[in-house]
């Protein structure tokens, strides 16, 4: 069942983020993808997360589609102008990729090509408008297309904000929805409580809000997130739980499984699992 249909009928959709390789060796990506194929609704393919150069999501998503997995191709405006973005979107759809997620894309300063020039020809909302245009059969210049795609697209949302920052985020959500966005994947959360601020203001089922469950690979990672990422709510209790666990890896897998289960119970239509390099452990989480 396609992701859109799954969300429409309310069947819990498990998504998994899978970064394309930095190189041409796709064997690991394909090996893991085939192992989880029957357990996930779709694989989300990031667009050079944290500005680290990797295989393009277009290429990686097409490879995954060819292996029988549905994909959500992320697209950010940092590295391509409106011609390249539209061209890649057309190529994606023709190649079987019908789900797209618009992301902001972190600044080049975060990545491994610090000296590069960012493009930022258009922004995410303008890209959403352009996607709507492509689906209506016209490119951004108004020229008619030879066959129009029918993308199901979404955007990202940060549930960890408060006050005026949350208002700003809600405004962004409503503008993306007006532009046709059909789902929203959140920045990482570590417990259900992290969704409360947003859930108070938005009908999470109507907006197809999909929380991201990030795997905590170590206590150090958890502490780093707690100290340095103010919008990510990570409780002391969770850190203590990981600290006390005799087998921390097993515990981290258990935490991810529990969070997925809690989201399903709470009525969310889906969740995305971000393995953070622990792709090989995905089969254990997705039992």
């Amino acid at each position: 069942m396609h992701l859109k249909n799954r969300l429409d009928v309310g069947e819990f959709a498990v998504l998994v983020e899978m970064a394309p390789p930095k190189g041409i060796d796709i064997s690991r990506m394909v090996f893991i993808a085939e192992k989880i194929r029957s357990k996930v609704a779709a694989v989300v393919v990031p667009d050079m997360t944290a500005a680290v150069m990797r295989m393009s999501p277009l290429g990686a998503a097409m490879i995954l589609q060819s292996k029988g997995l549905e994909t959500v191709m992320q697209v950010c405006c940092r590295d391509r102008n409106r011609l390249a973005l539209q061209g890649d979107l057309l190529a994606a759809y023709a190649g079987g990729i019908s789900n797209v997620m618009i992301v902001d894309g972190q600044d080049l300063a975060f990545g491994d090509h610090h000296q590069a020039k960012a493009v930022d020809d258009i922004d995410g909302l303008q890209l959403a408008e352009a996607l709507g245009g492509l689906c209506a059969g016209k490119d951004m210049a108004g020229t008619e297309l030879l066959g129009a795609p029918a993308f199901f697209f979404g955007a990202e949302i940060n549930p960890g904000l408060q006050g005026s920052e949350l208002e700003r985020e809600l405004e962004k959500l409503s503008r993306f929805r007006e532009a046709g966005a059909g789902f929203f994947i959140t920045t990482p959360i570590f417990d259900l409580a992290a969704m409360e601020n947003l859930a108070d203001k938005v009908d999470v089922r109507e907006a197809n809000l999909i929380p991201t469950v990030m795997m905590l690979k170590s206590v150090g990672m958890a502490r780093y997130i707690q100290r340095n990422m103010p919008h990510f709510h990570l409780s002391d209790e969770l850190i203590r739980r990981l600290q006390k666990a005799p087998d921390k890896v097993k515990e981290a897998i258990q935490v991810a499984r529990e969070t997925l289960g809690a989201l399903r119970e709470a009525g969310f239509k889906g969740a995305m699992l971000a393995p953070m390099g622990w792709e090989q452990k995905l089969p254990e989480v997705l039992v």
């Binding site: 600044d107 300063a109 000296q115 590069a116 960012a118």
Partner: protein
């Protein structure tokens, strides 16, 4: 200097359509030199706006003033006693002006009356051309005094491209191909070998790609 063009009158009129009294604020810096936002231009625009609004039966009171520079808090401060006497302030300075004004007087609205275009100079009376893109790492010395970042449409460091013909750029016959000029000069001076040097991919961090920039001169910071 910074070169600007005045915005179309309709756009300016639209900005101030709900105002009854505005201050039209010129600048004695770059925009005076490029004849777009100095005393004379302030007088002309003020009269034009007054006449247009009078015709519409909705008169606009336009006060005129010219600051020494709008990019300097010291001069911006001169509006302290009067800035709030208007429905809005229309600045004829480059894009820096309305922003410095907004920062100094957050409860007033400041509109730009000009479009800020580039850094350059006058090549003849009434014609200005771009010479510098402000990339933060000057390479003019490699190219005999000509900047390919600012003056080549593609900012090529190894040109010319295939679109260069008869010394003109493919973008427009009105644009000279700077790479044609660079190569010719190197040939004339028998230094064509210079162009065989492979330039590394440019570090754009010193340009806008490192985020909004600052320049700090420690010895001047109090």
């Amino acid at each position: 200097m910074i070169i600007a063009d005045r915005k179309p009158l309709e756009e300016i009129q639209e900005m101030v359509e709900n105002c009854e009294k505005i201050l039209l604020l010129g600048c004695k810096g770059c925009v005076t030199v490029c004849n777009v936002g100095g005393l004379k231009e302030v007088q002309v625009l003020a009269s034009t706006l007054r006449i247009a609004r009078k015709k519409e039966g909705h008169p606009l009171d336009v006060e005129e003033k010219v600051l020494e520079r709008q990019c300097d808090p010291e001069y911006v401060e001169q509006l302290r006693d009067s800035y709030d006497q208007y429905d809005a302030v229309l600045s004829m300075a480059c894009g820096v002006g309305p922003q410095f004004l907004s920062e100094a007087y957050p409860d007033q609205r400041f509109f730009p009356a000009v479009n800020t275009k580039f850094m350059g100079g006058a090549v003849q009376h009434g014609i200005w051309e771009e010479r510098c893109a402000g990339c933060g790492t000057c390479v003019i010395h490699f190219y005999d005094g000509m900047c390919p970042i600012a003056r080549c449409s593609k900012s090529l460091l190894h040109g010319p491209c295939g679109g260069s013909a008869d010394g003109k750029c493919e973008v427009s016959r009105d644009i000279e191909c700077i790479w044609d000029k660079i190569v010719r000069k190197k040939m004339e001076q028998n230094r064509l070998e210079d162009l065989r040097i492979l330039r590394a991919a440019k570090d754009w961090r010193t340009a806008r790609d490192g985020g909004p920039r600052r320049s700090i001169r420690e010895e001047l910071v109090k």
